[in-house]
């Protein structure tokens, strides 16, 4: 874990699951890809800690939000691919909504201008 992650890359609790699910919307992926996608999409602000990613993937699989299968990676290695299940999609919607509420609430507290709920400014 780099210093950057310690200062501002630390993830908010519970958001990793959501981001993993979000990543899988675009297609099945294995662990390395998932981490890369999250890091790239956050413009390298977020660094995924492997110590939480893999347990999180197993947890999501246990809950039935993702399913998995073995396939070949880009470099022809045996890799475990994860796929979003219908239940996972529903969960993603729930968590996204929750996240939006939270983000808005925090923004309000911090005195930033936020769009009025349900419409534009």
């Amino acid at each position: 874990m780099g210093k950057k992650a310690q200062s501002d890359g630390e993830m908010l609790k519970g958001t990793l699951d959501m981001m993993v699910l979000r990543t899988l919307v675009t297609g099945d992926a294995h662990g390395h890809t998932i981490a890369k996608v999250i890091e790239r999409s956050s413009e390298d602000v977020l660094e995924v800690e492997q110590g939480s990613l893999y347990p999180a993937l197993h947890r999501l699989e246990d809950r039935g939000w993702v399913s998995s299968y073995w396939g070949a990676s880009e470099n022809n290695r045996k890799a475990k691919f994860y796929r979003l299940t219908p239940a996972g999609k529903k969960q993603l919607v729930r968590e996204t909504n929750r996240w939006r509420q939270m983000a808005r609430a925090i923004a309000l507290v911090m005195g930033e201008k936020v769009p009025v709920k349900g419409g534009t400014e």
Binding site: T33, Q50, P55, H58, D62, S73, R77
Partner: protein, 879 residues
């Protein structure tokens, strides 16, 4: 939490390793694509990933169920600790196995025999009804019922009960047919509604109808399943076929189901063929109020209760007695459930045995608890350190319980095996017991075993855990061998356990002593003749082929002549029933020369038909007069020989020779010609007056051949049977047995109980002795230092020996006192099992006291002696 995940942790871990590997390969490839050297690419990838071990650990933990994991770890820990002291573990497990095994075995027997319902429909509504003497002090005598009363009962209670009567002590000779030998079988007469009353439907054919149960009906029979299988090889076409019983043709109308069993307080479990009573029994027997030949079973209808039924019958019976004033007519009725009726004679002894095994189990638990306490004492520092380092009390307690649970579970498993073996043995030796065929280990027994294991684990675990009350961590840590507070506290608890243990042992020993003494009394009872080397076998002449008395006598005479000629036969004789082999017939006898007695006071004597050679063959001594001669037969058979007690009762203070006796039933008169010694009809019963008349005449058709030899009398059975079959190939011989075996059979219950209780009490005594030894040895190790100081300061060794001995014996003495008090109470409970032995027999109590003190002394003397021989220098240096 997901159990599946918990048990698949290894697979998840393997998958994770593969995923990590993929990640690193991808990262390295990417880094190399960015232009890094292979080493740098690898280094950076590993840096980025961090420690793979941590990832694995966190996933592992995520998949773990903590409780199970800890429990598993504790289990492993306990097994390891126990394995480190295999001697201790083996002893504890063995002790538990004995305790649990005995209990499981006895529980199985009690449940199967005493508690499980009989295999009939709604068996709890079935009752056995008997007559008994109103106003008699022995209010629990159960007398079979006379047919006359039965018909009146049945008529009067039609709305409340369905009543059936049976007479299960009949027999038939089955003729030789289809290549099968003739044989004698036990049979039962029953009223036609007997099987419907029990709720039994035949497996083949039908049961009897009221048309079969009439004097003028055709002969019909219902076979038991086993007889049908054995004799007729399970012939499916048997229904409607004719079989010959006593040389008369019987139509088989039904075969009973395999599950059908019958037994009663008066036997009947060997019945193989059932026939309708009104067709079979003589008219006189079916109408009399005086001959108690039948067992009555009733199924109560809905709403009826036994007390109300008995009240109703009591009224009827009182009426019958009023109209038939005869001593043989009884005035009262008594009933019990059919199950109670079947198992009545085993109830006390089985419950007593169960209680004995319970005592052994308690003692075993206490012993194991004592051992655990001693162990925890040895580990007290280890435990104190763990407590000081923050090991929770609960966790320490749990560990202790897990340990005792392992011991109990292993003991229980072994015990179950022991129980299985013991039950096999019991079924083998107690074939005489009603319902012994119902004994099986089943689910309930398994559940009981698990329950007992849990209780034992809890008991011994808690006792040991509580004794090492961990409040004094500091004390334990500081407890150098110079301060003994913790040690002595633990010893105190063990001493209390020991007192209880010794107390229970004393109770068991007293019980064992009483039963053993009673059994010895029983076996040493003189039945009136020497028991050794006497062989007996029964046969009875079918009336169809031996109709005339002349024919019967001719056969008897020819037979006994041939038997006497068999090489090895020293003497032989014929009698209707030899001593020790049953009741078999009694008569009311009036002395002709005396003024007639009122009916109520006419003496009742046992009657035996005998052949003149019988008395010398079985060695009944002739006291006065003579034995009847060979000439006194048929029309001249009106002579009799009476036993000494009969002479005293019938002719008090006068000479019976030449006097005459008249039988109340037949009216025939016999002249007394001699007096012989007394014999017993049952070894456990008092002597009864007996009369012998010539079997050559007097309607004798059934006889027992009595053969005496100098040695190996059993080997004569075959040659003698061959002689009989030469004479009449169709005549079955039954009950081939030695006199000793026959007597042994009637004492088997007493023999069995005393052997089992003696075995248990020996185990208990050994356990108690081990406990005494253990505690004293432990105390002395604790006090090695102190003893060393004492010796160094000049204490006498004898004094020390005495000091240690007294210390060790104290629990034994307290236990002895406690046990004696308890025994005084419990001994009364087994009174009904004792023969000529008082419950508070002083000899038994004294021997128990002496035996216990001796064993306790032996157990204590070894450690005490060792203490007094301590080398002070070594003892002091042992610090």
């Amino acid at each position: 939490m997901n159990l599946r995940r918990f048990f698949h942790r290894w697979r998840a871990d393997a998958e994770l390793l593969q995923e990590i590997d993929t990640y690193l390969t991808e990262e390295i490839a990417e880094n190399m694509a960015r232009g890094m050297s292979p080493e740098e690419a690898r280094r950076q990838a590993h840096l980025k990933f961090g420690n793979p071990q941590r990832v694995r650990e966190s996933l592992w933990q995520q998949n773990t169920i903590t409780t199970i994991d800890t429990l598993w770890r504790e289990l492993k820990y306990a097994v390891r600790t126990l394995a480190r002291t295999p001697g201790f573990a083996a002893i504890a497990i063995l002790v538990m196995a004995l305790g649990i095994g005995g209990n499981v075995a006895l529980f199985t027997v009690v449940r199967s025999v005493l508690l499980k319902p009989l295999p009939y429909r709604d068996a709890d509504r079935l009752f056995a009804l008997y007559e008994h003497n109103a106003n008699s002090p022995d209010s629990y005598s159960f007398l079979p019922v006379d047919a006359g009363s039965f018909w009146e009962w049945q008529r009067a209670t039609q709305s409340t009960a369905e009543m059936a009567m049976v007479s299960p002590w009949q027999d038939y000779s089955v003729s030789a047919d289809g290549g099968k030998l003739p044989e004698k079988i036990s049979a039962g007469w029953c009223s036609w509604n007997f099987f419907p009353t029990l709720g039994i439907t035949p497996a083949l054919g039908r049961s009897f109808t009221s048309d079969d149960d009439r004097p003028q009906a055709m002969e019909t029979a219902v076979l038991t399943y086993s007889f049908w299988k054995r004799r007729y090889s399970g012939d499916p076409e048997i229904i409607g076929k004719i079989i010959f019983l006593d040389a008369r043709p019987y139509t088989v109308v039904g075969v009973l189901p395999a599950s059908f069993t019958f037994s009663s307080a008066f036997g009947g479990s060997k019945v193989q063929v059932w026939t309708p009573v009104q067709r079979e029994a003589p008219h006189a027997l079916l109408t009399t109020y005086e001959d108690h030949e039948f067992l009555v079973f009733a199924r109560l209808r809905k709403g009826a209760t036994l007390p109300r039924l008995v009240d109703q019958l009591n009224a009827i019976q009182a009426q019958i007695q009023a109209t038939h004033p005869d001593p043989a007519v009884k005035g009262a009725v008594i009933g019990r459930t059919m199950l109670d009726d079947v198992v009545y004679s085993y109830k006390t002894s089985l419950y007593a045995l169960l209680a004995a095994t319970g005592c052994v189990l308690l003692i075993a638990c206490m012993n194991v608890a004592g051992l655990l306490v001693a162990r925890s004492a040895a580990r007290s520092k280890d435990l104190a350190i763990r407590a000081a380092l923050g090991g929770s009390r609960l966790r320490l307690l749990r560990e202790r319980l897990v340990e005792s649970l392992i011991l109990s579970a292993a003991g229980g498993a072994l015990g179950l095996l022991l129980a299985w073996i013991a039950l096999g043995w019991l079924v083998h030796v107690r074939g005489d017991m009603n319902r012994v065929e119902a004994i099986h280990i089943d689910g309930t027994v398994a559940a009981f075993t698990v329950g007992v294991i849990a209780l034992c684990a809890l008991f011994s675990g808690l006792v040991s855990a509580l004794s090492s009350n961990g409040t004094h961590v500091m004390v334990a840590l500081q407890e150098s061998s110079r301060s003994h507070s913790g040690g002595t506290a633990r010893a105190r608890l063990r001493k209390v356990l020991l007192v209880l243990e010794v107390g229970l042992t004393v109770v068991l020993l007293v019980g064992a002593g009483l039963l053993l003494k009673s059994y010895q009394r029983l076996r040493s009872t003189d039945i009136g003749v020497p028991e050794e080397n006497v062989l007996t076998m029964r046969f009875s002449l079918p009336e169809v082929r031996y109709k005339e008395p002349v024919q019967q006598v001719a056969f008897f005479e020819q037979l006994i002549g041939l038997v006497r000629a068999v090489p090895g036969v020293q003497a032989a004789g014929l009698v209707s029933t030899p001593p020790g082999e049953g009741w078999n017939g009694d008569r009311m006898m009036q002395v002709v020369e005396h003024p007639p007695l009122p009916k109520r006071e006419v003496p009742d004597v046992m009657v035996r038909g005998a052949e003149p050679g019988y008395f010398s063959a079985i060695q009944i001594p002739l006291l006065r007069g003579r034995i009847f001669t060979l000439d006194e037969r048929l029309q001249r058979a009106n002579v009799a020989v009476i036993s000494r007690s009969a002479a005293q009762i019938l002719f008090p203070g006068e000479d019976p020779i030449g006097r005459h006796l008249r039988s109340e039933e037949g009216g025939d008169v016999h002249e007394v010609v001699g007096i012989v010694g007394d014999t017993r009809w049952d070894v456990a019963q008092p002597i009864r007056p007996t009369l012998y008349w010539p079997i050559y005449g007097n309607h004798g058709t059934a006889a027992t051949i009595v053969i005496r030899s100098t040695h190996d009398v059993e080997s004569l059975a075959l040659p003698v049977e061959r002689v009989i079959s030469q004479l009449d190939p169709d005549l079955p011989v039954s009950d081939v047995t030695t006199l000793r075996e026959a007597i042994g059979k009637s004492t088997i219950d007493s023999e069995f109980s005393s052997i089992v209780v003696v075995a248990f009490s020996v185990i208990a005594l050994a356990l108690a002795a081990a406990g005494l030894y253990g505690v004293l040895a432990y105390l002395i190790t604790q006090r090695t230092n102190e003893i060393g100081v004492r010796i160094a300061l000049g204490a006498q060794r004898e004094q020390l020996l005495r000091l240690m001995l007294v210390d060790g014996l104290k629990p034994a003495l307290f236990g002895l006192a406690l046990g004696l008090m308890a025994s005084a109470g419990t001994a009364r409970l087994i009174r009904s099992m004792l023969y000529e032995t008082r419950p508070l027999d002083p000899a038994v109590f004294c021997s128990v006291v002496v035996a216990l003190l001796l064993v306790a002394m032996l157990a204590c003397i070894v450690p005490a002696w060792r203490a007094s021989r301590l080398d002070p220098a070594q003892a002091l240096r042992s610090e």
